[in-house]
């Protein structure tokens, strides 16, 4: 190939043809590099299909397996699988299936007794405990949950996300739908998100719904108690500098209906703090919850720092603070390590009572559930992500250790903190997390919980 001299009259300001054409015999290092790069790019086998197709993977599978354990009491196995289909027009449809298999024994809420203690449910099922043992109820449960989500981009700046979920376990059913819209503004340096959701849940306690603050032998209904949840969210994320992304969001959640924990009881104690009787708990039928979240993502040369702070308050009198930090450390061969530390503290709900004094008039509302009591916790954990050479999939392993503590004797309840869902996966651990007074230090009782999650993602 060569440039020929022009037979046509050239303009006065035109350059004379480059003559003679320079041979390509001795290309410069720059040209050798370009040629090598072009050869790599163009030298791969031509893509056989002449049909237009998206170049990005059109399916993605994400699978995780969670193992949750508390000393001696409860173990949970939770496998999940999420399948995402990316369509050529930018839409994405994603579905997830989750199973929780839980076995163990859950404290009922009653305080350990110096005397044999009988616990009952409204159904008449009775267990009797020897003295000095934390009253528990043996259980095993299987929960199945599924959700669907649909992303619909409209133009380049707007996206709508529609979601629906259904979950079912022995005594609880949840059906919900959500919708959110996000809009990029300020030359895409900021994104505004507005969303909302509704749940229509049903509670159908085994043995029927007990009469509140009763001895548990009387049943209000053997049917389904309704619980409605409405959530609204508004958020703003903003690129501050090329390395720094900040986010602010506010959520409000209104729960109405049957919000009491049907199996929870409160001990009636005498003047020596000995349990002499017990009552079922009772909570208000309305729970107005609000949370404000500030988050920051900062990119260093290679690594990334994530910091979050969350403040939560509700009309039950619970206030909580959560501070969360992660550091993503890039390792060779596409691997990374993500250490994680989190601190959480909350104040008790106004009707939280570890126990009720014998002879006092019963309050209208009362619960001994530690999840709405004074509570603090520290989580320390790390995620390690890596790829197996030759495979497109990515593995990650997350290990976390949570220590929660509160005033002595406060861990007779069960479950993760109920005032705040900041701990991640309130649904997943709602039935799973069982409190165990594993050690006492000073005026506090503490609880230790370990979690291991193995995840695998592959586009195909």
């Amino acid at each position: 190939m060569q440039l020929s001299d022009t037979p046509e009259p050239a303009r006065a300001d035109a350059e004379p043809p480059a003559t003679p054409p320079t041979p390509i015999a001795s290309p410069s290092p720059l040209r050798r590099k370009l040629a090598a790069a072009a050869f790599l790019l163009l030298g791969v086998p031509a893509l056989a299909s002449a049909d237009p197709m998206p170049s990005s993977p059109s399916w993605q599978l994400d699978a995780t397996g969670l193992l949750y354990g508390e000393r001696q009491r409860t173990s949970v196995i939770e496998p999940t699988a999420r399948l995402t289909r990316l369509f050529a027009n930018g839409q994405a449809l994603s579905g997830q299936i989750t199973l929780d298999a839980i076995t163990g024994a859950s404290p009922t809420g009653a305080v350990p007794s110096g005397q044999p203690l009988t616990t009952t449910t409204a159904s008449g099922m009775v267990t009797t405990l020897p003295a000095g043992q934390v009253p528990t109820k043996k259980f095993n449960d299987l929960r199945g949950a599924s959700d669907l989500s649909w992303d619909l981009p409209v133009g380049t700046l707007f996206k709508a996300t529609t979601g629906a979920h259904y979950s079912r376990e022995k005594d609880y059913q949840s059906v919900g739908a959500s919708e959110s819209f996000s809009l990029d503004v300020l030359r895409r340096l900021a994104t505004i998100t507005i969303g909302g959701g509704v749940n229509r849940d049903g509670v159908f306690p085994r043995g029927g719904t007990p009469v509140p603050l009763s001895d548990g032998t009387q049943v209000l209904t053997t049917g389904t108690d309704r619980k409605d949840v409405t959530t609204g969210l508004i958020g703003l994320s903003r690129v501050l500098t090329r390395r720094w992304l900040m986010g602010l969001s506010m959520t409000r959640t209104l729960e109405t209906g049957y919000l009491t924990e049907p199996y929870k009881v409160i001990s009636i104690v005498d003047s020596t703090d000995t349990a002499v009787d017990q009552r079922t708990e009772n909570r208000p039928a309305r729970h107005d919850r609000r949370a404000a979240l500030a988050s920051s993502v900062y990119h260093l040369a290679k690594d990334v720092i994530y910091v979050e702070y969350r403040y939560y308050w509700d009309d039950w009198g619970i206030r909580s603070h959560t501070a969360d930090a992660k550091y993503r450390l890039e390792l060779p061969d596409d691997a990374y390590l993500l250490p994680h530390v989190r601190y959480y503290t909350q104040s008790a709900a106004s009707f939280y009572r570890p126990s009720l004094p014998q002879g006092d008039p019963l309050p209208t509302f009362a619960s001994a559930d530690y999840r709405i009591g004074d509570l603090s916790g520290v989580t320390i954990g790390a995620t390690y992500g890596f790829k197996v050479p030759g495979s497109r999939g990515e593995w990650n392993v997350r290990v976390e250790y949570l220590r929660q503590w509160g005033p002595a004797g406060s861990f007779a309840g069960t479950g993760t903190p109920g005032g705040d869902d900041g701990g991640g996966g309130e649904r997943a651990t709602r039935a799973a997390a069982v409190a165990l007074p594993s050690s006492k230090f000073g005026a506090f009782t503490s609880l230790d919980i370990g979690t291991i999650v193995v995840g695998y993602s592959i586009p195909f």
Binding site: M1, Q2, L3, S4, T6, P7, E8, A10, R11, E15, A18, T22, P23, S26, P27, S28, L30, R31, K33, L34, A35, A37, A38, L40, L41, L42, V44, A46, L47, A50, D51, P52, M53, P54, S55, S56, P57, F87, N89, G90, Q91, P153, G155, T156, R188, L189, V239, T241, R242, R243, W244, L245, V297, H299, K302, V304, E330, D334, R392, E394
Partner: protein
Amino acid sequence: MPASSRAGADVVRIDDAFLGRFMAFGGPCDVLIDTDDRAEAETAITVVQREASRIEHAFSRYRTDNIVHRINHAEGASIIVDEETALLLDYAATCHEVSGGLFDITSGVLRRAWTFDGGDRVPSREALARLLPLVGWHRARWQRPRLTLPAGTQIDFGGIGKEYAVDRAAAQIGNATPRAALVNFGGDLYATGLRRRDRPWSVGLDDPARSGEATLDRFELERGGMATSGDARRFVMHEGRRLGHILNPRTGWPIEGAPRSITVVGPTCLEAGTLATLAYLQGPNARAFLTEHGAEFRIVD
């Protein structure tokens, strides 16, 4: 059945060849097939058009359903890219390296501040200062196949995508016809070989002063790529100076002092186009750059 209904391209006979024309990459794309067989030409033109459409679809920054959109909206998250995207990113990384950072696929955001419509609007210093922090391939983490861009940073294959498509499409013509062909996407072109009776392809050089109306020169091309960089159609006037649309990623300001048009010949359209762009980025030193690197070129000042 005419090709226009099958592939969307207009096919006409020109002398002893067929010309197919369709729109892609924001402009007209021409395919010349050196044959007298219309059906054969239509098949070959369809192959070229499909490949152009595929690549434009896959790598255009204007679409919302492709990998570029996913990368540009990852907000700091890592994106795992497919093999073809990885190869393009590798190539772009090489261009960035050999140009000392002047060739930068993340510089596209600077165009938000500029309007190259031949008018005289230039952005304020503040407007550029706000965008410059988003520019810089050296701040991207490209660990094949994982790309992580700082939030707000975006990539744009505009500097290489069209040339890549020319080479890719031309390589597929052999599946449709044994005849020689010339692929020309908006001035970036590739010839697959000599025409019948050992004639080379004839290519006119557009006069940047009267773009689209006059040619300055005529080249003969046998086999290989040719591409032109310049500011013929997209520029802005500022204080009596003509500023082209090719921006310096360090300053956000157009490269000044470069020739009106730089045409380079190379073994592939991709290399020709890259060399022409790299030369343009040298501004007044474009000629010295091409000479130093032993390129075949034609410059119009």
